[in-house]
């Protein structure tokens, strides 16, 4: 009888606990759809900021990368040297350290740049080192006969570079530059450490306001995964579109 009661009690307690566990989960789901709702705007703002930073940084990285690749292809030893040192430096220093140097170090010298601009700049500079490698291999992949044709028809070095070499190299580089962009997006989460409330920064705020780090970071995880996934599809399409009829096999 005693034993029976005890069993009954335990079962009852288990049932209650299961009940509580269940409500907790449901509450969690509820939180995502309802409690998180007021914060969605903040997260969306963060996502938008991430996209803005990354698009600007991609443009910056391609410009820097093209310039560095151009220097590495130039006849001047000095320019080639500078470009090589640039690539070596920025690929071999943690991004976080570069970022802190720009954001917290430079003000000591009286150079103040806001978090957004610092973020874009730092990503452009670091991304540029990677982009320059990609563009450089694009340049090296160009059939030398095409450049010789431009030469014998009297195109200047400058025109040949701008109208023949770079357009072909960039077309060849769309896919690998896409990977650089995806890496920029992933790396941009580090910008939350310099008070920039991009996607990760906003998620941090929401997590601390709601005391629901699990749910919030799960959403963050999904957000990055879908952002980069959509982007990789867009890149593949862009590559095909840009190179339709231009490359023998796309």
């Amino acid at each position: 009888m005693r034993a029976g009661r005890s069993i009954a009690l335990t079962t009852a307690r288990d049932a209650v606990e299961t009940e509580i566990g269940f409500t907790r989960t449901v509450a969690g789901l509820n939180l995502i759809v309802s409690d998180l709702a007021p914060h969605i705007a903040l997260l969306a703002q963060g996502a938008l900021l991430t996209v803005e930073v990354c698009v600007l940084a991609l443009a910056g990285a391609v410009v820097v990368g093209a310039a560095i690749a151009m220097m590495r292809a130039s006849g001047s030893r000095l320019l080639r040297g500078i470009a090589t040192v640039y690539v070596d430096i920025f690929r071999n220093i943690p991004f976080l350290v570069q970022l802190f140097f720009f954001y917290y170090g430079l003000p000591e010298l009286g150079i103040y740049v806001d978090a957004f601009a610092t973020g874009v700049l730092a990503l452009s500079i670091a991304g540029g080192a990677f982009a320059s490698d990609v563009i450089r291999s694009g340049i090296l992949a160009i059939d030398p006969g095409i450049v010789e044709a431009a030469q014998v028809y009297g195109l200047s070095r400058r025109t040949t570079f701008l109208k023949i070499v770079m357009p072909i190299a960039l077309r060849l580089s769309v896919r690998p530059l896409g990977s650089v962009l995806i890496n920029l997006i992933l790396t941009s989460s580090i910008l939350s450490t310099i008070t920039l409330n991009e996607l990760t920064g906003s998620a941090k705020i929401v997590a601390s306001q709601t005391f629901r780090p699990f749910e919030v970071y799960a959403v963050l995880l999904l957000a990055y995964a879908s952002l980069t996934y959509l982007l990789s599809i867009a890149i593949a399409r862009f590559h095909r579109r840009l190179n339709r009829g231009v490359l023998e096999a796309v």
């Binding site: 059939d143 095409i146 044709a149 014998v152 028809y153 009297g154 195109l155 072909i168 077309r171 490359l247």
Partner: protein, 244 residues
Amino acid sequence: MIRIENLKKAFGKVTVLDGIDLSIEPGEVVSILGSSGSGKSTLIRCINGLERIDAGRITVDDFDVSNPKELAEARKRSGTVFQLFNLYPHLSALRNVTLAPVEVLKRNAAEAEKEGRALLESVGLGDRADAYPAQLSGGQRQRVGICRALAMKPRYLLLDEVTSALDPEMTAEVLEILADLTGRGTTMIFVTHEVAFARSISDRIVFLDQGRLLVDLPCETFFAEDGGMANARVAQFLSKMRKD
């Protein structure tokens, strides 16, 4: 006039052109024959300034190709058509043709385009002007290559085995265009293995052998038993070509 005097060119220790003397007058069609490795392509590449020469002198209408200041002028006077076409892959057929006239000769874009279309029309590519090179057959690509050269209105046309990457049918369509050009007084320097065609269009035949200019004769004489054929190397070369 293209004047080549005592031209020497070596790649490392290998002498590829060994004292070439050759002059080509405006209006002439000169074919350059010779076995593989005899230096024909290198000779063309020296004339258009793609190779630096080691000794001697090459002038195109008195502009010295070894002088960086004169090379640009020399290049404006000659147009090169390449064996592997070397078209700009990211530009349409029309843009391939108009790029240099606009960029180098500073021609008005609309005019250049009109002339470019007319040129493409004249080689049967009027409806393919907007196609990219990769969308064209080999023969069509080479016809674009010829138009690209002609668009610069060159006095001299340098052609290095322009049909050897093409199958017989496409070769025929390209040769037809070249034959047509000779009829209009275009000066041509024509490197080829198409001996029969060279015989039909040339005023003169030049025979290279191991970097030396062995024979330089009027076309008729070159193929005569007591002319070029009297040279053992020429006879050997021609009999080998006939067998192929």
